[in-house]
C-alpha cells in the first residue's frame, strides 16, 4: 500500500473527526436537525470505509459500531442523548489517537486497539443489543438472497466427489459455506494472487475459477487485469473465513447453504426393472430399520452397476446417507422416489423456492433519491472532459459513495449489493457500467421527460464546454489544495535562503564600484537587485499567506472541552467564541493551543462558580467564557474572559509567601497587580487539592513559558467576583524576525526588536554602583545597567564616544527596564532566525543565528537568558 494513500487518509481523517466532533456537539442543541444527523452518518460511514483500506481492523470495527449507532439515531429508533454523544465522542477520541499513532509509527499500539475493542463492545452492548432484531432483519435479507443464489447457482456443476465430501462434512455437523469471490480488476498490482488465496482457504472442499468477462479478441487483452471470479465450498466457520479473506472482504460474499442442495444425483438415465425392485426393497429395509441389510444391498449394487448411471449416483448418495440414519431418512426416501420418477429428488423440508424475478422487479425509489441519481449522472457525463485521472477517480468515488449512502438510507440492500459490484468494476477509464446502472434505475422510475432532462446537459455541453466546466464542477472538486506542511516549510526555508542570497548583491555592487572600479556594472547590479528584491518580497509575502491559518483551528476544540469539563464539574458554562477568522502563522496558532487549554481549564475550574454560588452572588446561573481573537499591529491577541470569581490577590500573595516563593519584604510591599502575576511563578497553585483538571501547580508558568518561547507575552487582569481576563499576545509570524544590530568588542549581534525599548547615550559618570550593582537614572527611574562584554565574558572595556558616553540599549525584560551597555548601534534588519541545533542548542544566551547579506553570520541575543546569565 502506498504511503501517500495513508498520508491522505490521515489528513482526511483528521478533518472528518473534527467535523464529527462539531456535529455531535451541535446536535446536543438541536436534536431534530436531520441534515446534521445525515451528515454525521455520512462522514462516519466514509471514515469507516476509508479505514477499511488499511489493515486496522479494530479501528474499522469501532467506526462500524459507531456508524450503526448513528444510523439508529438517524432512523429515530433511539433518541439522541448526551450519553450517546459522550460515547460517540469517546469513540472518535480513540480513533483520533489511533490516527496519531498511525502517523507516528504506521501501526497501532496494543493499548489503543484494546480501548477500541472495549468501546466497540460498550456501543454494541448498550445500544445495538436491543435493536439486534434489526441486525437480524438485515441478516435475514442476505439469507433470502442465499435462497436466490441456491436457485441461481447450479451446484450440479460441482463434481459429485466434492459434493459428497461437503455433505459428509455437513453430516458431521459442520456448516457448509459457499463463497463467491470476485477479485477487483487491479488486484495484481497490489501483489495479490486470488488463486493463492483461494487455495489456502481453510477447510476448502472445492473451488473453481472462471472468467467473468468475455474476451472477444484475446490479442488485445490486458493480461494484468484480473478478469477471474472464484467460487468455493468450505466447511470452515464464518469467522475463520472472514479472517482469511479479511483484506478482500468487500469482494467476497458468503452464503450458508443447506447440504441437501448438494445432493444432486447425476448420470445416464436408462430405466430398468432393477431399480423398481431395489426401491421397494429399500423402502422395506427402511421401514424395518434393517440398516445393515440395506447397506449391503446398496454396496453390492454399486459394484454391479456402471458408475456413469443415474442409478449408481443415487446409490452413492444413499450409501453416504445410510450412515446417518435416521436423520437422513427423509432424504433417502426422496432419492428413492427420484429413482422411480427419474426426476431430481425433492426434499420435503426444503422451503418454498423464492421467486427469483423479485430481483428484477422495477425499482421504486423516492423522488429524493432519483434526484440524487440524476445529479450524479450529470456529473458523470461531465467526467469525460476531465483529463486528470486523480480528479476523475475522486469524483467517481464521491458519486459512488453518495449513491451508496442513498441506498443504505433507503434500506435497499438488494440494490446496494448490486451497486457495490458495479462500483468495483468502475474505474476512471471505464465508468460505463456505472452510468448504465444509474440510467437503468432512473429509467425505471422516472417519467420519460425526466430522463431527457437528465440527459440534456450532455447536449448543451458540447457547445458551451469551457463555461460549463467552470460553472458546474466547483461543487464537485474542492478548490482547497491540501499540502503537507513540511513542503511549505521547505518553501519557506528556500525563500529565506533566497533573500539572503539576494542581499549579497548590494555588497557585490559596492565591490564592483570600489574594488574593480566599474561603476557602470555596479549600477546595473543595483538595478537588477531592486527587481529581485521586489519579487522576493512578494514571494515571501505569498508564502506567509499560505502559512496563515485562522485561529478557529485551535478554537474549534473548545466547545467540546468546555462541554465535557463543565459537565464533570457540575457547572453551567456558555462559551462564546469571537474572531475565530483571525489569521496568524500556523506555528503561532499551534503554539497557542496548549496554553489556551490550560487557561480555559483554569477558568472553568477556578474561575466560574457553581450555579448555586453564582445565584447567591446575584449572577446569572450560567457562567460565560469568552474566547476572543483579534489582530493588533503585527501581533495576534487572544483573550480568555470569564465572569467567574476573579483572582484574590491577597490570597495569592499569602500563598506565595507560604510557599517561600516571595520574601516577607516583597509580601508587604507587593501591589495587587503584581500579586496577580505571581500565579505565573513555577510551582504555584492556590487550589488546595489537585483536581483532574488543574491545580497541580504546573498551569500558568507553563503557559507563560510556552507563549514566551514564541516571542509572545501573557497579561492578566482580574477583579474579585467580576471575572478574569487573560490576554495572550503572539507575533503574527515567526518566520521573519526584526532585530536591531549592535556591536560590541568588534563583533555584531542582533537583539530582537520586541524587547528593545530605546537606545540612549549615558555618560560614564551617570552610571553609579548601588549595592554592588551598576545602575543609572533614566527619566526618573532607576535602571540596572549591564555591560554586554561582561555578560558575554569578553575581556574588553566598552568604547565611549567623544563625549565619554556609553551606548546603552534599554530593553524590557519580563516587564522590567534593563540597560545594556554596548559599543555601537547599527541599523535594524529583518532576518530569518535559524535556531541552534545539536551541541550548540544548549547555548541559551543566543537564540540562534542569521546570515547577513554579505555572508557574515549574526548571533542573535536572547535578552532574558542574557540577564539570567549575569545572575548566576
Amino acid at each position: 500500500m502506498s504511503n501517500s494513500l495513508l498520508e491522505q487518509f490521515i489528513i482526511e481523517s483528521r478533518d472528518y473527526l473534527q467535523r464529527i466532533g462539531e456535529i455531535l456537539i451541535a446536535l446536543e442543541e438541536n436534536v431534530e436537525d436531520k441534515a446534521l444527523l445525515n451528515e454525521l452518518f455520512r462522514i462516519v460511514h466514509t471514515l469507516k470505509g476509508n479505514s477499511g483500506l488499511f489493515d486496522f481492523p479494530s479501528m474499522t470495527k469501532l467506526l462500524h459500531a459507531s456508524e450503526d449507532l448513528m444510523n439508529l439515531v438517524r432512523e429515530g429508533t433511539i433518541p439522541y442523548s448526551s450519553e450517546i454523544a459522550d460515547l460517540l465522542l469517546e469513540a472518535m477520541d480513540i480513533v483520533s489517537i489511533m490516527i496519531d499513532e498511525i502517523e507516528d509509527s504506521g501501526s497501532l499500539s496494543h493499548n489503543s486497539i484494546q480501548s477500541a475493542e472495549e468501546k466497540t463492545k460498550v456501543i454494541k452492548e448498550k445500544f445495538l443489543k436491543a435493536p439486534e432484531k434489526k441486525e437480524k432483519e438485515i441478516l435475514e435479507k442476505p439469507e433470502k438472497k442465499e435462497k436466490i443464489t441456491e436457485q441461481i447457482f447450479d451446484f450440479s456443476i460441482i463434481p459429485e466427489e466434492f459434493r459428497i465430501k461437503a455433505v459428509k462434512e455437513a453430516l458431521k455437523g459442520k456448516k457448509i459455506i459457499f463463497i463467491q469471490y470476485s477479485p477487483e480488476a487491479e488486484c495484481f498490482y497490489k501483489g495479490e494472487d486470488p488463486l493463492y488465496l483461494v487455495r489456502n482457504t481453510p477447510e476448502l472442499i472445492w473451488a473453481r475459477s472462471y472468467l467473468r468477462e468475455e474476451i472477444p479478441d484475446p490479442s488485445l487483452m490486458d493480461i494484468y487485469q484480473c478478469i477471474s471470479n472464484f467460487e468455493l465450498l468450505s466447511s470452515a466457520n464464518k469467522e475463520e473465513l472472514s479472517e482469511h479473506f479479511k483484506y478482500v472482504l468487500d469482494q467476497v460474499k458468503f452464503f450458508d447453504i443447506e447440504f441437501t442442495n448438494l445432493i444432486i444425483p447425476q448420470g445416464e438415465k436408462n430405466g430398468g426393472p432393477v431399480y423398481e425392485d431395489f426401491v421397494s426393497d429399500a423402502r422395506k429395509y427402511l421401514e424395518e430399520n434393517n440398516i445393515q441389510t440395506f447397506k449391503n444391498a446398496v454396496k453390492s449394487l454399486i459394484e454391479l452397476s456402471s458408475p456413469e448411471l443415474y442409478f449408481a449416483s443415487v446409490l452413492r448418495w444413499i450409501e453416504l446417507l445410510i450412515e446417518h440414519l435416521p436423520e437422513t431418512r427423509n432424504i433417502i426416501e426422496a432419492l428413492l422416489q427420484s429413482l422411480e420418477t427419474m426426476a431430481p429428488p425433492v426434499f420435503k423440508f426444503e422451503k418454498e423456492p423464492v421467486l427469483i424475478p423479485q430481483k428484477e422487479e422495477k425499482a421504486e425509489f423516492p423522488d429524493e433519491f432519483l434526484n440524487i441519481l440524476n445529479s450524479q449522472k450529470t456529473v458523470l457525463e461531465k467526467l469525460r472532459t476531465i483529463e486528470n485521472n486523480l480528479i476523475k477517480s475522486n469524483i467517481l468515488k464521491s458519486i459512488i459513495s453518495s449513491i451508496e449512502n442513498g441506498l443504505i438510507s433507503l434500506g435497499k440492500t438488494e440494490f446496494l449489493n448490486e451497486f457495490k459490484e458495479i462500483s468495483q468494476k468502475t474505474s476512471p477509464d471505464d465508468f460505463n457500467l456505472l452510468k448504465k446502472w444509474i440510467e437503468k434505475k432512473c429509467g425505471f422510475s422516472l417519467a420519460s421527460e425526466k430522463v431527457e432532462e437528465a440527459v440534456s446537459p450532455e447536449v448543451t455541453f458540447t457547445s458551451t464546454e469551457p463555461q460549463e466546466k467552470e460553472v458546474s464542477l466547483p461543487h464537485v472538486v474542492s478548490k482547497v489544495l491540501k499540502v503537507d506542511e513540511t513542503k511549505i516549510d521547505r518553501l519557506m526555508n528556500l525563500i529565506g535562503e533566497f533573500v539572503v542570497a539576494k542581499n549579497s548583491l548590494p555588497y557585490l555592487a559596492q565591490k564592483a564600484d570600489n574594488f574593480y572600479g566599474i561603476s557602470e556594472l555596479s549600477k546595473e547590479i543595483k538595478a537588477q537587485y531592486s527587481v529581485l528584491n521586489r519579487i522576493s518580497e512578494e514571494m515571501q509575502d505569498a508564502i506567509m499567506q499560505i502559512r496563515m491559518v485562522p485561529v478557529s483551528t485551535v478554537f474549534q476544540r473548545f466547545p467540546r472541552l468546555v462541554r465535557d469539563l463543565s459537565k464533570k464539574l457540575n457547572k453551567k458554562v456558555k462559551l462564546i467564541i469571537e474572531g475565530e477568522e483571525t489569521e496568524a502563522d500556523k506555528n503561532v496558532i499551534e503554539s497557542l493551543s496548549d496554553p489556551l487549554i490550560h487557561i480555559v481549564r483554569n477558568s472553568l475550574d477556578h474561575g466560574i462558580e457553581t450555579p448555586e454560588e453564582r445565584i447567591s452572588k446575584g449572577k446569572p446561573e450560567t457562567g460565560t467564557i469568552i474566547l476572543r481573537a483579534k489582530h493588533e499591529a503585527d501581533h495576534v491577541l487572544i483573550e480568555v474572559i470569564d465572569d467567574g470569581k476573579g483572582i484574590d490577590a491577597e490570597k495569592i500573595k499569602l500563598k506565595a509567601y507560604q510557599k517561600g516563593l516571595i520574601t516577607e519584604e516583597q509580601f508587604e510591599k507587593m501591589k495587587e497587580n503584581e500579586a496577580i502575576n505571581l500565579i505565573f511563578l513555577p510551582g504555584f497553585s492556590t487550589s488546595e487539592t489537585a483536581t483532574d483538571l488543574s491545580g497541580r501547580g504546573v498551569g500558568m508558568d507553563v503557559v507563560r513559558t510556552a507563549v514566551e518561547k514564541f516571542g509572545g507575552s501573557v497579561r492578566i487582569q482580574s477583579a474579585i467576583d467580576k471575572g478574569t481576563t487573560i490576554t495572550l499576545s503572539l507575533p503574527l509570524s515567526m518566520a521573519v524576525s526584526h532585530v536591531m544590530i549592535i556591536e560590541s568588542a568588534g563583533r555584531k549581534y542582533g537583539v530582537p526588536m520586541e524587547s528593545v525599548v530605546e537606545t540612549v547615550r549615558v555618560s560614564k559618570q551617570k552610571i553609579k554602583k548601588v549595592k554592588g550593582k551598576m545602575t543609572t537614572v533614566l527619566r526618573n527611574k532607576i535602571v540596572p545597567i549591564f555591560y554586554l562584554n561582561d555578560l558575554l565574558d569578553i575581556n574588553k572595556p566598552h568604547i565611549t564616544n567623544e563625549d565619554a558616553e556609553f551606548a546603552v540599549l534599554v530593553l524590557s525584560i519580563k516587564g522590567e527596564l534593563t540597560g545594556i551597555v554596548v559599543d555601537k548601534f547599527h541599523e535594524t534588519a529583518d532576518i530569518i532566525l535559524k535556531p541552534f541545533i545539536g551541541f550548540l542548542a544548549n547555548m541559551r544566551v543566543f537564540s540562534g543565528t542569521a546570515i547577513m547579506g554579505d555572508g557574515s553570520v549574526l548571533l542573535i541575543i536572547n535578552p532574558k537568558e542574557l540577564i539570567n546569565a549575569s545572575r548566576i
Partner: protein, 77 residues
C-alpha cells in the same frame, strides 16, 4: 525456468508467477495450437491461470496436486 516452451507445447513446472504471464501470453499469440503439460505444476498465478481460460489450450497432463487439479477439471470452465 517454470515455463518451458517447445514449439506447440509448454510445460509448466513448480511455481508459475505473474512474471511468466507475458511470456505465456506471447506464446499463446504466436502459436496456433497450444498444448500444456501441467503435471509438475504446484501453483500458477491467477494472471496466468486466466490466460489458460482465455486461450483454452489442450491440456495434455493435469496437475498432480488435487487441490490445483480441480481448477482444470469439469468445474473449472
Amino acid at each position: 525456468m517454470p515455463v518451458e516452451f517447445k514449439n506447440n507445447t509448454a510445460k509448466l513446472t513448480d511455481l508459475v508467477s505473474i512474471e511468466d504471464a507475458e511470456a505465456l501470453f506471447n506464446w499463446f499469440l504466436e502459436r496456433k495450437k497450444h498444448k500444456l503439460d501441467l503435471s509438475e505444476l504446484s501453483h500458477i498465478h491467477t494472471a496466468c491461470l486466466q490466460l489458460l481460460f482465455v486461450f483454452k489450450p489442450e491440456l495434455i497432463a493435469l496437475p498432480e496436486q488435487e487441490d490445483l487439479k480441480m481448477f482444470f477439471t469439469e468445474g473449472g470452465k
